[in-house]
């Protein structure tokens, strides 16, 4: 296993300030972090800790006020909105708490959408979207609209949409926040499998049993990283899969 020349993401002393003057709020107060390829990172923190701001910056949805953010070695500080859109499309697969599928659009078309924005031809788009839906276990619901699917199914469509572009990083923001415990376990199982298959995953969560799936747990508080605990090396199986392998 050769390691990549760059970490998948690198934050260098990132500061993010919202507002100006008296009303200015420091959401991040100097965060530095490297995430290696194949790593499985959980970022934990209470609400208001700055973890959503971190997620926006890692997702290229927002830019740091100070410091640098690099994804696959690309410094996003030099990119305009158009180029950031391309980076999001090629490098990042998003999974949101509220699923964020486009309504009135079949699951298959939702999954095809990022490929459409990339300009992939119709036949290839279709076969890749079908493969991604197959991978998350929704091969039989491809033509269902989001409102015809359960929460767990919708979130798996969102995971398929995040996967389909073959991104460097899957970024999940409270992915189990709107799911019941059964659907949560199923979804985390999908993430474990993806990581085992070599995907780099960053999870934002406040639930300890979700963080237990990760190889590395980072605690954020008041805009700073206060703990960084390594559970397993980036290039081994995720911890819960290892336990299952041992117990069976």
């Amino acid at each position: 296993m050769t390691s990549a020349p760059y970490p998948v993401i690198r934050l260098e002393s990132v500061v993010k300030v919202y507002g100006a003057g008296q009303a200015a709020v420091q959401a991040l107060r100097g965060v530095s972090l490297d995430v290696a390829e194949r790593d499985y990172v959980a970022i934990m923190g209470a609400s208001g800790s700055g973890k959503s701001t971190m997620m926006n910056i890692i997702g290229c949805l927002d830019v740091p006020t100070e410091g640098k953010f690099l994804i696959d070695g690309i410094d996003t500080g030099y990119l305009d909105e158009q180029q950031l859109a391309v980076v999001r499309n090629r490098k990042i697969g998003f999974v949101f708490q509220s699923f964020n599928l486009i309504p009135r659009m079949a699951a298959l078309h939702n999954v095809e959408l990022p490929l459409s924005y990339r300009g992939v031809k119709h036949a290839e788009r279709r076969s890749r979207a079908e493969a991604a839906l197959h991978l998350v276990g929704l091969a039989d619901r491809m033509n269902s609209q989001p409102k015809q699917l359960s929460g767990g199914q919708q979130q798996r469509v969102a995971v398929a949409r995040a996967l389909v572009t073959n991104p460097s990083l899957i970024l999940a923001d409270e992915p189990t926040g709107n799911l019941d415990s059964k659907a949560s376990r199923d979804l985390m199982g999908v993430f474990d499998q993806l990581n085992a298959a070599g995907r780099t995953i960053v999870l934002i969560t406040h639930e300890a049993d979700v963080a237990a799936h990760a190889k590395r747990v980072i605690q954020v508080q008041d805009g700073r990283i206060v703990a960084d605990r390594r559970v397993a090396a980036p290039d081994v199986l995720p911890p819960l899969l290892t336990q299952q392998a041992v117990s069976s």
Partner: protein, 404 residues
């Protein structure tokens, strides 16, 4: 991102709220439809006026008797010229001009016609010479023209217009019948073929009688109202107009400034009438264009609502890689599609509307008005959709995603 996909997304966006899209299209539909219809009605009425005027005959010239121009003598040393009568002698003098084949002196009056008291009708009566019928392109459906001899002997004979004839005689044959004109009996010698409406009142509620008998019995021997001069050909009309002016100025001892007559040919009436009707058409089309503008504002309004409603969707699309340009294209395409579909339906409605007579006018579609109205409606979509689309494209993805 291909154009076909942008179009597909736009169609999906519009069909998400069909009623709203349909109502927005209705605004453009009404605008485009009314522009086409109004221009067609204006064109139709100007054509019908032109037809009416050209039916006077391309080679006939009308000399009208007027009061003369007082303004002409302000700096002149000569006294005010009294307007002189336009006389039969003037008409005879005009007949001698080289380009002229015939002259018809005319007096006009309006009288009540009756047959034995039961039915009567008010008609306009023209007293003139036999040549009048040819100069006016009138044809007889029954009977014959009166003769020059009947003019000379002031015979009480009359030719009835088709409407006057049917009002008085119904289905009976009027030829040889007797008509009381202001109580004086006239014998009917002919009936004119119907000319239809000219847009200026019925051209059929008329009667024509010898000049001498009309002057004798009805109007007295004052000035003629006008003289119809028949030029040898339509190409000589301008020359003959000049000859007429010269002859009458000489006979009346006048200059161009204080003329007591006016020379009109079909072409000069035509240009006056068509410029008047085109002014009206432009005015009406401007009002219709304003309704198109209002429709355009409707598009802006509804697209702003749509963009606000779909803020979250815009955020999602941006998060998964839609560039600002793609978002801009999607919403501009939606707006343009709205206005284009509305415009096409407006053309259909407008063209269907021109199949009906409107206030006695048969509208005639002006071919350039269709591409013009369609092009304008597309432009409306681009311009009025541009502002909301630009707002969508400029949204920050993090904010848009957070929008509830």
């Amino acid at each position: 991102m291909s154009a076909a996909q942008v179009l597909r997304f736009a169609v999906a966006g519009l069909s998400a709220n069909k009623l709203r899209s349909a109502l927005t299209m209705l605004g453009i539909l009404i605008g485009v439809g009314s522009v086409i219809l109004v221009v067609a009605v204006g064109n139709g009425s100007s054509q019908s006026v032109q037809n009416a005027i050209s039916s006077l005959g391309a080679s006939s010239i009308t000399v009208l008797h007027t009061e003369g121009s007082a303004a002409g003598s302000t700096s002149s040393t000569t006294a005010f010229a009294e307007p002189q009568n336009l006389t039969v002698q003037d008409a005879e003098a005009l007949a001698a001009a080289p380009g002229v084949t015939a002259v018809s002196p005319v007096v006009d009056t309006s009288e009540t016609l009756s047959i034995g008291g039961t039915s009567d009708t008010d008609v306009s009566i023209t007293g003139t010479y036999p040549a009048y019928l040819a100069s006016e392109n009138d044809t007889l459906s029954a009977g014959a023209d009166f003769t020059t001899q009947q003019v000379n002997s002031a015979a009480n004979v009359v030719i009835l217009g088709s409407e006057a004839a049917s009002d008085l005689f119904g289905t009976a044959n009027p030829i040889g019948g007797s008509v009381l004109v202001d109580g004086i009996p006239f014998t009917v010698v002919g009936v004119l073929a119907s000319k239809g409406s000219s847009g200026l009142g019925s051209a059929d509620n008329t009667a024509i009688a010898p000049l001498t008998s009309v002057q004798d019995q009805l109007t007295g021997f004052g000035s003629l109202d006008d003289v119809i001069v028949q030029a040898k050909s339509s190409g000589q009309v301008d020359t003959v107009e000049g000859e007429i002016t010269a002859i009458l100025n000489q006979r009346h001892d006048e200059t161009a400034a204080d003329e007591d007559f006016e020379v009109l040919s079909a072409s000069s009436i035509l240009s006056t009438a068509s410029s008047a009707s085109s002014t009206f058409t432009v005015l009406l089309a401007a009002i219709a264009a304003i309704s198109l503008l209002v429709g355009g504002i409707g598009i802006t309004n509804i697209m702003l609502v749509t963009v606000t409603e779909r803020t979250r969707e815009i955020g999602i699309r941006k998060a998964i890689g839609a560039t600002p340009g793609v978002i801009l294209a999607q919403f501009i395409t939606e707006a343009t599609l709205l206005s284009l579909i509305g415009g096409v339906l407006g053309v259909v409605v407008g063209v269907l509307g021109t199949r009906f007579q409107i206030d006695g006018v048969k509208p005639v579609v002006v071919s350039f008005s269709i591409p013009l109205a369609l092009g304008f409606s597309v432009l409306v979509g681009l311009i009025f959709g541009g502002f909301p689309a630009n707002r969508a494209a400029g949204m920050r993805p993090a904010d848009a995603l957070r929008y509830e």
